[in-house]
C-alpha cells in the first residue's frame, strides 16, 4: 500500500517551476529525495505538509487528498523541516508539554526516551541548543506522536556522524512493517545509500528518475573516453557528459553500454545531471 502518492504536482513561482512531479512512497520503505539546492525538494515536502498550495496535481496521504486530511489524520505525519522551528523561549521539557497539549497521540515517554538517547537534557532552553542539537530535538518531536509517515527535510544536516548513524538506525526500525514509511531529503548521499529502498532524483523542478537502490547500482555507470568512442555507443547509452580540456567523462546506462563502466554513486549522478551536458 502506498502511504504517499504524488501525481503531477505543479507549483509555479516567479523564477521556478515544480513541473509535474510524480512519485510514490510505499509502505514499509525509506525513500530518499535528492537533488541540488533549489531543485524543488523542499517545495515538494512543504506541499505534502500543507505549507504551500499546488497549482496543479494531487497529493494523497493514507489514501486521502492531503487538503482534506483532518487534524487527527495530519498528526499521523511527523515533519522535520530544515530549520527545525521549535519555540525558542522554552525548555525541552516544556516543548513536550506544548506538544502534549497540541497533539492527541503525543507520547511523553517516547519523547523523554528520545531526548535521553540523543544526549539532550530536558532542562536545556531551545535557544541555547546548537543547530545539530536543535535538529535532534525536532526529530525527537517528530517521532513522539505515533506518526506513520516521517517527512525529513535535510534533517541530518549539521549532525555529527554518530548522531546521523543513530538516526538512520531509528528510521530503519521505524519502517518495520508495511504501515509506515519515511521520505527523507538529504545532501548527505552516503546516508541515503545506507538505508533508502528507493531514490527519487529531482532536477530543476522535474523528476529525473525514481529507482530502487539496486537499480541505481546496476544501471548507472561512469566512463571516460573520447567523444568519438562515446558517440559510437548505442543510442541512449550516454546520459550526460562532462567535458574538461583533457578528457570527457560520461554518465552512461550500463545496460546499453558495452564498455565496462564504473558504477556511479548517487552524488556522481547528481553532479552529472546538474553540471553535465548532452553529448
Amino acid at each position: 500500500m502506498d502511504i504517499l502518492k504524488i501525481e503531477n504536482a505543479t507549483k509555479r513561482y516567479n523564477d521556478f517551476l515544480l513541473d509535474n512531479v510524480s512519485f510514490t512512497v510505499p509502505g514499509g520503505s525509506v525513500v530518499g529525495f535528492v537533488g541540488e539546492n533549489g531543485a524543488g525538494k523542499s517545495t515538494t515536502l512543504k506541499a505534502i505538509s500543507g505549507l504551500v498550495r499546488l497549482d496543479g496535481g494531487r497529493i494523497e496521504c493514507f489514501g486521502k487528498d492531503v487538503r482534506t486530511l483532518t487534524e487527527s489524520e495530519r498528526s499521523r505525519i511527523g515533519t522535520v523541516l530544515d530549520d527545525a522551528c521549535l519555540p525558542s523561549s522554552v525548555r525541552l521539557k516544556d516543548v513536550g508539554t506544548i506538544m502534549a497539549g497540541m497533539m492527541k497521540n503525543w507520547d511523553s515517554a517516547a519523547y523523554a526516551a528520545l531526548l535521553k538517547k540523543f544526549g539532550l537534557s530536558d532542562a536545556l532552553m531551545v535557544r541555547e541548543l546548537s543547530k545539530g542539537m536543535r535538529m535532534k530535538a525536532a526529530i525527537a518531536v517528530a517521532m513522539s506522536h505515533h506518526a506513520d509517515l516521517l517527512l525529513l527535510d535535510e534533517a541530518t544536516s549539521g549532525l555529527d556522524p554518530v548522531a546521523r548513524d543513530e538516526i538512520l538506525d531509528m528510521l530503519y526500525e521505524f519502517v518495520d512493517g508495511e504501515n509506515r514509511a519515511v521520505l527523507v531529503s538529504s545532501h548527505i548521499v552516503e546516508d541515503l545509500e545506507k538505508i533508502c529502498d528507493y531514490i527519487v532524483f529531482i532536477h530543476k523542478g522535474r523528476i529525473v528518475f525514481v529507482k530502487s537502490a539496486d537499480e541505481l547500482r546496476e544501471e548507472y555507470g561512469i566512463i571516460s573516453a573520447d567523444e568519438t568512442a562515446l558517440r559510437a555507443l548505442p543510442r541512449g547509452a550516454v546520459l550526460k557528459v562532462r567535458r574538461t580540456p583533457y578528457s570527457t567523462a560520461a554518465l552512461v546506462d550500463r545496460r546499453l553500454c558495452g564498455l565496462a563502466a564504473e558504477r556511479a554513486g548517487i552524488d556522481e549522478i547528481i553532479l552529472f545531471y546538474a553540471k553535465g551536458e548532452d553529448l
Partner: protein, 201 residues
C-alpha cells in the same frame, strides 16, 4: 489549544511582567489625575502590544509553519493569538471598575468601564489580523496610523457633538458597546484564521 496557550504564555511571560508594571503606573496616573483617557490607553497598550510580541516571536521561530505542519488547525492558531491579550483587556476593564468603585467621589463616568473593554477588544480585532497578514514592522506602522486617526476622529467628534445634551444616549451606547467589541473580535478570529490558512511558507 492547551499546548498553543502554553506556548503563547511562554512567549509573553517576561513581557507580561513588564506590562503589568506599565499598567500599574498608568492606572496610578489616571486615578490621581482623574483622567479617564489613561484607562483607555492601558487597554490600548494591552491590545496592540501583546499580540505584537506574540506575532514577532512567531516570525522569528517560524512557529506557524511548525504548528501547521504538525496538523494544528488555522482556527485554533488564530484563536490562540487573542486569548491572553483578551484576558489582559478584561483585567484592565475590571481594574478600571474597581478604581471607580473605590473612588466614588471622582468625576469620571462609569461608562468608561465598558468603553475600556470595547476599545481594547476592537483594537485587538484590528491589530491581530494586520500583524499576521503584513508582519510586525508594517503592522505596527499601519496600526499607529489607524490609532492616531481614531483618536483624532474621536476628539473631533466630541468637539462637534454637544456631549452634555447627548450624554444619556452616549452612556447607553457605551454600555452596549461591549457587544460590538466581542462581535468584532469573533469576526477577527475568523479573518485571522483565513489569513493563516492562505499563507504559504
Amino acid at each position: 489549544m492547551k499546548g498553543l496557550l502554553i506556548r503563547e504564555f511562554a512567549v509573553l511571560k517576561s513581557t507580561l511582567l513588564w506590562y503589568a508594571l506599565v499598567f500599574a503606573v498608568l492606572f496610578v496616573i489616571g486615578t490621581v489625575l482623574g483622567n479617564e483617557g489613561f484607562f483607555l490607553g492601558v487597554g490600548a497598550v494591552a491590545s496592540v502590544s501583546l499580540p505584537a510580541v506574540s506575532v514577532a516571536a512567531d516570525e522569528k521561530e517560524q512557529w506557524l509553519k511548525f504548528a501547521l505542519s504538525g496538523g494544528c488547525s488555522p482556527t485554533k492558531l488564530a484563536a490562540s493569538k487573542y486569548i491572553i491579550p483578551g484576558m489582559a483587556g478584561v483585567l484592565v476593564c475590571g481594574l478600571t471598575a474597581l478604581i471607580f468603585a473605590l473612588m466614588p467621589d471622582n468625576e469620571m463616568s462609569w461608562s468608561m468601564v465598558p468603553l475600556t473593554f470595547t476599545f481594547a477588544f476592537v483594537l485587538l480585532a484590528v491589530m491581530v489580523p494586520l500583524y499576521v497578514k503584513v508582519g510586525i514592522e508594517k503592522g505596527r506602522l499601519i496600526g499607529m496610523i489607524c490609532l492616531v486617526a481614531v483618536i483624532a476622529g474621536t476628539v473631533a467628534l466630541f468637539g462637534v457633538v454637544n456631549t452634555s445634551s447627548a450624554s444619556g444616549v452616549i452612556d447607553i451606547l457605551a454600555y452596549c458597546s461591549p457587544i460590538l467589541g466581542v462581535g468584532f473580535t469573533a469576526g477577527s478570529v475568523l479573518v485571522t484564521a483565513k489569513i493563516i490558512a492562505d499563507k504559504e511558507f
